[in-house]
């Protein structure tokens, strides 16, 4: 272990646990499969062109639907405290920065180069809104889906009930199309200003100091000050230092870098 931070090294913050990532990823893949299989019934041309394949898709829709429902339940049972933390993060008071973020969101998406967002807590107001809608949407999807499935096989619901459930299923699908597509684009982290967010859920769950400061300023600084979730890693993704040590090495590096520049300024 080097006593000094190298130029290629960077501090990271552990943002999501392994369990959170696995839960998210199973649900995400399930949602993609449910969309794909659901489209075969939703789009008449597909059902009509491939009726046998559509029947197979409908069976898979049920199996994957069960996975979608069971995964978060199992995860919640494994970590009840995580559920508590989740609700605490999502049901929080709106700060002035949250309001500013919401107001600036569309101009920001259209002109991220020049429109800059205020610092945010662990979950941005926009995230809270979008993720919240997705959670509610999936919940309603699950309920209406279960009624449509079991209500036409195990027991018999009335035609009116089935029609209402199908409309709920359709409306939630529309909401989810909008928010999931946006969520996937932003979360995949391939394009600016969201570059680098992909690893949060699909990799090691870590976010670089720079990205953390950019997206969740309040949270990033709080975590860096606390230090317990901070890692110092080299360019090969190898952990060089952890915790307080990683924080201190980073601080020294920043200060020295600034000092090197200082004499130039005076000239």
């Amino acid at each position: 272990m080097s006593a000094k931070m190298e130029q290629k090294e960077q501090r990271y913050i552990q943002r999501h646990s392994m369990q959170t990532r696995i839960t998210h990823d199973i649900v995400a893949v399930a949602c993609i499969w449910l969309t794909f299989s659901g489209l075969f019934v939703f789009i008449p041309a597909l059902a009509s062109a491939f009726p046998d394949f559509t029947r197979a898709m409908r069976v898979s829709h049920r199996i994957v639907g069960c996975i979608l429902i069971i995964t978060p339940i199992v995860s919640a049972i494994l970590s009840p405290r995580g559920v508590g933390r989740f609700f605490k993060k999502y049901f929080t008071k709106w700060t002035p920065e949250d309001k500013e973020f919401t107001k600036k969101f569309v101009p920001y998406m259209l002109n991220a180069r020049n429109v800059h967002m205020p610092d945010q807590d662990e979950v941005k107001s926009g995230q809270r809104f979008a993720d919240g809608l997705m959670v509610v949407g999936v919940l309603l999807m699950a309920i209406s889906g279960l009624v449509l499935w079991l209500g036409t096989s195990v027991w018999r619901v009335s035609g009116d009930t089935a029609s209402v459930m199908r409309t709920i299923h359709d409306i939630c699908f529309l909401i989810l199309v909008i928010f999931v597509v946006a969520h996937v684009y932003l979360g995949a982290g391939i394009f600016e200003p969201y570059k680098g967010t992909g690893k949060l859920m699909w990799g090691n769950g870590q976010v670089s100091e720079s990205n953390a400061l950019y997206h969740w300023g309040f949270w990033a600084r709080k975590e860096l000050e606390k230090g317990d979730k901070v890692l110092l890693k080299d360019e090969n993704d190898q952990v060089v230092a952890r915790g307080k040590e990683a924080v201190d090495l980073g601080n020294t590096y920043i200060e020295e870098k600034l000092k090197q520049k200082a004499p130039l300024k005076q000239e």
Partner: protein, 294 residues
């Protein structure tokens, strides 16, 4: 080709169930033969309702005979009404259900995907499905198709050919309607004031024309069949497509506008509370902890 229709005159029906037997025979629909395997309906109506092996039933409504000893029956026919404005055709996602040239609602059974949307949408609660189970791979619709294969060969539907009191008939829809109106007029003269024609305008005009001898409450028929129960979905589909295009387009603009945008590498010194731009080696801002900044 002019539309055809099945004619049913409830005032001539004797409730013999010959039509039910003929239907099962022609369409190869089995009946349960175990002792007492069917639930009891409380009347001679049996089976209680349409089911996956029963495409038509005669309904029995019993009531006390006025001013006389005994009971009266109101016989009715429950079957696919072959609506012009057919809710099932509108919601069928696979094109399994469609109107044939005669105006009857027929099905291409290979195309049925077992979604049962037709059942939910039908104002007459007619479509039934075979192979219903939790797995759901083998569900197929079963309902009256007006014996399409017989009609194609110039024959009448099986039920019609067997009707002994001529309560059932088959022919051009206009003729059937004229006959129904004549019969209702005759019934009115005989004192059946509630007698009426059913199917002339209901659900866009049905291809089963009925003469109802008594008030409509004596028959399992809705006064105003709602053929739009599943219509919301047909609005949601284009809306969802629009939303998908909108969001992809919006994100496309985001992508185009942010293309090539480079964010400077930032770092935070937890000792000095400075946020530093590491590419420019400049302190970008100081977090004034004493002033309560976070």
């Amino acid at each position: 080709m002019a539309d055809l229709a099945i004619y049913y005159d409830s005032s001539k029906c004797t409730g013999c169930k010959g039509c039910m037997v003929a239907c099962k025979t022609w369409n190869n629909l089995p009946s349960p033969i175990e002792l007492n395997s069917q639930p009891y309906s409380g009347t001679y109506q049996n089976p209680v309702d349409l089911n996956e092996n029963t495409r038509t039933i005669i309904t029995y409504k019993e009531r006390k005979r006025e001013n006389a000893y005994g009971i009266d029956w109101a016989f009715g026919s429950r079957r696919c009404m072959h609506c012009t404005d057919a809710a099932c055709v509108k919601v069928c996602p696979s094109g399994c259900l469609y109107h044939d040239d005669n105006g009857f609602v027929v099905m291409d059974i290979d195309k049925c995907i077992g979604c049962q949307y037709c059942r939910a949408a039908c104002p007459f609660d007619v479509p039934r499905h075979t192979g219903v189970n939790v797995r759901g791979a083998d569900i197929k619709i079963d309902k009256c198709d007006a014996c399409a294969t017989r009609v194609a060969h110039g024959m009448k539907p099986a039920c019609v050919t067997t009707c002994q009191p001529n309560a059932l008939d088959f022919g051009p829809r206009e003729e059937m309607l004229t006959r129904a109106h004549e019969r209702v007029e005759w019934l009115h003269k005989r004192g059946y004031a509630d007698a009426r024609v059913y199917g002339e305008t209901e659900a866009g005009g049905t291809h089963v024309i009925m003469v109802l001898k008594y008030d409509i409450s004596q028959y399992d028929l809705p006064e105003n069949p709602n053929t739009n129960k599943g219509a919301a979905s047909n609005v949601m589909k284009p809306l969802t497509a629009l939303a998908a295009v909108g969001i992809v387009g919006g994100l496309g603009i985001t992508y185009a506008r942010a293309h090539g945008y480079h964010r400077d590498h930032m770092a935070y010194d937890t000792k000095t509370h400075d946020v530093v731009d590491m590419d420019k080696d400049e302190v970008e801002r100081h977090i004034d902890k004493e002033a309560g900044e976070r």
